[in-house]
Symmetry: C2
Subunit: 168 residues, 2 copies
Amino acid sequence: MGLFSKDIKSMDDLFAHSLRDIYYAEKQITKALPKMREKADDAQLKQAFEKHLEETENHIRNLEEVFRLMDLQPGGVDCPAIDGIIKEANDVAGEVEDKQVLDAALIAAAQAVEHYEITRYGTLITWANELDCDDWAEVLKRNLADEKAADEKLTQLAENRVNVAAIG
Amino acid sequence: MGLFSKDIKSMDDLFAHSLRDIYYAEKQITKALPKMREKADDAQLKQAFEKHLEETENHIRNLEEVFRLMDLQPGGVDCPAIDGIIKEANDVAGEVEDKQVLDAALIAAAQAVEHYEITRYGTLITWANELDCDDWAEVLKRNLADEKAADEKLTQLAENRVNVAAIG
């Protein structure tokens, strides 16, 4: 969208913009997760990243379903937020020497990603319901449920395994 | 920290790094909130941004207390995540024509900021407890409680006032 144009004129436009934002974000996440899996040392953490990659690919298909319901071509817009969150994850990971501490840092980074998605899906679902488009909301709720479950799983892994090993 | 050095060798180092990250983030948020308050049209939304600015200034003082408890000089590290989240907020706000739709966009942007802080404080509190530093955790819990309350307040404003006006 143009830097000096005002392309968002209605809540429908704002919804579509935000849908494109999270679509771009999910695609970036499919690129980031394999790298995080590779860096992880703990086997269960590797497995959690692998599982969430499969879920993320499914989220992209779900978003494409919402685009279809809206009669729009699927497409992304630049999302400096997810780019920044992923850049920070890479920066911090690059500074950690110890394998167990790196696992703890990877979990923190992944939870920042999850929380970004949780807030975006929460907003989109509210807007969809208010726009009387419950069918869009129903699809988006599936993605939100996965993100919340992934965040909870990461908390459990951190508290029960990874942080214990990192503190040593 | 150096691009090719591995400065994080322990969970204490990772904790200190993440504390500097959120300290930088809170400082950036004190610069962003007055601009968001100025752009907002709804009186209650303006008031919510004003109140959260005061809370954010208090969060910075609380973080400085944690630095003192750790015998560290307060200081920030670059936080590309919050920079990206704030950049995205500005980009989207710049594209919205309608005042009521802009209010809805501002709330969504502010909630992305809150969720970033919620995930970071959640992680820091867990680590502090695991490092047997409950005094650090107690201070950080005050900030987390404010962020969660601010997020909840924004949801209420969106659902009860702002989105209703924006959909028209």
